[in-house]
């Protein structure tokens, strides 16, 4: 493994430990002496399912383009993180003979893909295996996701109220993640470029190092917020699947 592999590994371990410290503070239950009218379980179930549907949240249906951009952005981030970790663990992840490298995929699925017949019959796609197609799909998907990130960043810069609400961390966090998506897309689309892999690894390292300090750590609090909200409205009998059906 090269130095940037080690850097990335160290940053992930650092990020994990720091986020674990934040997370551990969130798991101590808060005592409530009031007699419940409903159950926490029911509320949390509702909070993490129905209450999240776009037709139940004004932040979704009144701001649909932003909502969709946000969803694509977050799916992209999750995918990019998984991809970069796989690339770190398996140095030849998603390499294939068609890329002019020794193919030795550690991933069974891609190995099978390699064995299968190529699906391109000619032109630029000639000789492409599923690996190349997957790279293309991931690459384009991540680029679209990066565009969504860019769009939201532009909105943050240009919408005066949103700008007033934002602090430097909001801009840095969004820019960093968008850059990470672009780097991840490059790593997928330009596997033969010598810089594409170091680029995504270095950006990911910076992102993981920064994550525990700024708003990027909201990924821990998001789940906790859904739980707390479900517990609150569930105990009070406001949120439950049963009430939802009755109304």
């Amino acid at each position: 493994m090269s130095f940037y592999h080690w850097l990335l590994l160290a940053s992930i371990i650092f990020c994990f430990i720091a986020c674990l410290c934040w997370f551990l503070k969130l798991i101590k239950p808060v005592k409530d002496y009031a007699e419940p009218a409903g159950t926490v379980k029911d509320g949390v179930l509702y909070s993490s399912t129905v209450a999240m549907l776009p037709n139940h949240k004004e932040s979704a249906y009144l701001h649909f383009p932003t909502y969709i951009a946000g969803i694509i952005f977050h799916i992209g981030i999750l995918t990019a993180i998984v991809l970069v970790i796989l690339q770190m663990i398996f140095p030849h992840f998603m390499h294939s003979a068609a890329l002019g490298k020794n193919y030795e995929s550690e991933i069974g699925l891609l190995n099978i893909a390699h064995e299968m017949k190529t699906i391109g019959n000619g032109g630029v796609f000639a000789g492409w295996t599923y690996v190349e197609w997957l790279r293309l799909v991931f690459g384009i998907g991540l680029l679209i996701s990066a565009c969504c990130g860019l769009g939201m960043l532009v909105k943050r810069f240009t919408n005066s109220e949103l700008k007033q609400l934002s602090n430097p961390d909001d801009f840095i966090s969004s820019s960093l993640v968008t850059l990470f998506l672009i780097a991840s897309a490059c790593a997928m689309l330009f596997p033969l470029c010598a810089f594409s892999k170091p680029f995504v690894f270095v950006v990911a390292t910076i992102m993981f190092c920064y994550m525990p300090f700024g708003k990027l750590r909201h990924f821990i609090y998001f789940f906790s917020a859904r739980y707390q909200l479900g517990a609150f409205f569930g105990r009070r009998g406001t949120w439950s699947m049963k009430k939802q059906k009755n109304n």
Binding site: Q228, T238, K243
Partner: protein, 428 residues
């Protein structure tokens, strides 16, 4: 470098420190500043100003938390917008947390993450209370409740005189010269509580509930000493004061041997007693509590009272008090009652858990300095009412009755505002 802080500011910071449990930590760290909550808040809808965004109200408290409790906030405050607690921030806190939020909680379900905005607002109000920075107008309401037993400082004799006068009204209504509103009766099943606005401004709502109890043959009484269901100490973040008010009512129920405390028609009072009080007392109550709305719905279901819906033919709509409905889980009962009492019931849009606040919640009615804002944000409710075409607006909350009455005049709605007890009494 952190600025020097006064003893009071230090007290507020220590207070914040002591409250940092899983729930508060979650809500102080969750907001991603997406700004999508603005369109769910009546303040922002009526005046597009970033200060009115729910996220802004969270951020003023969260920024102080970040400054004193996070690495980045301590060492690079500008990076995360972390702020010192100083005279400027406290001034902003007063305006944002007392003057721009009714703590209705409408934004909560609509927030993209699920930040409990009013919970953070209340924490900020508690910090201000620690610094003796609660607006004087609402503090005087709390002081009156703590010093005299009711928030309007009504002398006991005046209260008794009002009830005696209402007895005549009750006797006429039920056609029984022996009918009375029972005061300080020991050995009853239930102790009834009410909003001091009733004896002061809306006494007929007391005779209305008395008529319901008379026909349901309920065993009940009112204490002349402690009958006030409101708890403005809850709004100002004075948990010790809120505990005292809560404990008084529980002790009063025990004193009269009642096994149930009826929470009169007051949204925040019911919420404070039902959901917050046990936590202030750090114990489960030794008596049961039930809201007047649930009790009346039970009477109708059990056939103890039989409303006649043909008596009320005017179109009726319901205004849902935020603290009773969204934050208290009482959603269907008032609809059941109104459907049993009225022949033409229509819902507002939106309604139920998604309702808009009347504009008077969160102690706004007691803070005259924000009257203009209160009436401005109330336009949303006025428009909702007008759109229903209703002639009668029913709401199980006297604070809402007050605000709706003001809106009725301000926006020329031409409606009558009634409590649940009043509409039921009319249908009996």
């Amino acid at each position: 470098m952190m600025t020097d802080i006064t003893d009071k500011q230090n007290k507020a910071l220590n207070f914040l420190d002591s409250r940092l449990n899983a729930k508060l930590l979650t809500h102080l760290n969750s907001c991603v500043h997406c700004g999508l909550c603005g369109t769910s808040c009546q303040y922002y809808i009526t005046e597009k100003n970033s200060k009115n965004m729910p996220a802004s109200k969270v951020d003023i408290v969260a920024s102080i938390y970040r400054r004193y409790h996070t690495f980045a906030g301590k060492h690079f405050p500008k990076l995360t917008g972390a702020r010192d607690l100083n005279d400027q921030t406290t001034e902003e806190m007063i305006d944002d947390l007392f003057g721009r939020c009714t703590m209705c909680g409408r934004c909560v379900a609509h927030c993209s993450i699920g930040v409990d905005i009013p919970f953070v607002v209340r924490t900020g109000r508690m910090m201000l209370q620690q610094m003796d920075l609660v607006p004087k107008s609402i503090q005087s309401t709390v002081d009156a409740a703590l010093n005299t037993g009711n928030n309007m400082a009504i002398p006991t004799q005046d209260f008794v005189d009002t009830i005696n006068w209402l007895n005549e009204d009750l006797q006429f209504e039920v056609n029984d010269d022996e009918a009375t509103i029972p005061l300080n009766v020991h050995g009853v099943k239930m102790l009834y509580t009410l909003n001091p606005r009733e004896p002061k401004f809306f006494p007929l709502s007391i005779s209305a509930i008395a008529k319901v109890f008379y026909l349901a043959k309920e065993s009940w009484t009112i204490s002349t000493e402690f009958y006030d269901i409101t708890n403005y100490a809850y709004f100002v973040g004075d948990e010790e004061g809120a505990r005292v008010i809560t404990e008084r009512l529980i002790n009063e129920a025990l004193k009269f041997g009642a096994d149930t405390l009826i929470l009169g028609e007051c949204g925040h009072g019911s919420r404070a007693m039902r959901w917050e009080g046990p936590n202030w007392m750090k114990a489960k109550y030794p008596v049961k509590t039930i809201t007047a709305v649930e009790l009346i719905a039970n009477y109708i279901r059990e056939g103890r009272i039989k409303p006649d819906k043909s008596k009320i033919t005017d179109r009726v709509t319901i205004h849902d008090p935020c603290n009773l409905v969204r934050n208290g889980g009482i959603i269907d009962e008032q609809r059941y009652i109104v459907n049993q009492c009225c022949s033409d019931f229509v819902e507002m849009t939106p309604h139920g858990v998604d309702n808009f606040c009347c504009g008077g919640g969160g102690g706004q009615l007691a803070m005259s300095e924000y009257n203009d804002r209160r009436m401005r944000i109330g336009k949303i409710k006025a428009d909702q009412i007008r759109a229903t075409g209703a002639k009668i607006v029913v709401t199980p909350c006297h604070n809402c009755v007050d605000q709706l009455s003001s809106l009725n005049v301000e926006y020329n709605l031409g409606v009558t505002i009634k409590t649940i007890a009043e509409i039921v009494a009319d249908a009996l």
